[in-house]
């Protein structure tokens, strides 16, 4: 089992990012490190460490943000109508 302080490593470049990118990344980190199939029984990070990424973000968010504004995360490939309607 990895040491809990591994949770700090993703935070290194965290603080310099604008808020909507931090939110997008928090959602990403939450999924990639905390969801998905566990095959080996070993996990890299604790749930608590992931949730903490959301602390402090909510005070400055606009009411709705979507990941489509973050790099590479859009409806591309999901539907033939995707971007052309925007």
């Amino acid at each position: 089992m990895a040491e809990p302080n591994e949770a700090m490593e993703p935070l290194d470049e965290w603080h310099g990012l604008p808020d909507h990118e931090r939110l997008a990344l928090a959602e990403l980190v939450n999924r990639v490190l905390d969801k998905g199939v566990v095959v080996t029984g070993e996990v890299t990070i604790s749930i608590g460490g992931v949730d903490l990424l959301f602390l402090g973000l909510q005070l400055v968010l606009s009411s709705v943000e979507t990941l489509e504004r973050a790099e590479g995360l859009n409806l591309r490939g999901i539907t033939p109508y995707g971007r052309s309607k925007r």
Binding site: E9, E27, L28, V29, V38, V64, G72
Partner: protein, 231 residues
Amino acid sequence: MGVYLYCVLPEGAPEPGVAGLDGAPLRAVRAAGVCVWIGDVDATPRVDLSRIRKHDRVIRSAMDAGLSPVPIRFGQVVSDDHALRAHLAEHDYGPVLERIEGAVEFGVRILDPESKPEPSRQPEGAAGTAGHATGSGAAHLHALAARFHAAEARQARALDAARDLDGRLAECVRESRIEATDQPAGAVVAHLVQTDAALAYGARARELAEGYPPLRIVVTGPWPPYSFVDR
């Protein structure tokens, strides 16, 4: 040496078309009626943001190719192809592949602007004990209790909003999961949405998200179905 796992796909899936963590080439292992996209690694990769992004991008590249990948959690390494084949022989991925076939995940996070980060907690009986006047003890406990109840109330309000939103989005959704969050107090809903309903879902979710002041509703997606593949 080891085999780092990205996602499980139907057996007929093509070879991966992108590079993996740290630019390493990827390949497909086929066994037990499924295909797994993997990369050969010297050791379990350390976690950082660029590797987290890359892990997700590999899985997304399968979605971009029109496939429905079962995402594997970051950092899962088995010793070699033989160990992977043994795992696949023992674990039937058919049901989970079927569960997420043709669907993507969206997230609805309910944040409460009144939920402040907790002040850092000092260990009981550690620094500060000696300096505290005994008379402040009861007041301190009352303050703690009040904060606890306020946080509970905020979480309950967020959960109510989550359930309400979930109900209003139900017609666009194949499956949903609602969870309370503690830090900050709030709630999160994961939705499994048929790809051909994704645009309708997004439009409806964004419209609904405006209706819960003072709560902030954050809709994200589409994601690979990370939240719907536990077995």
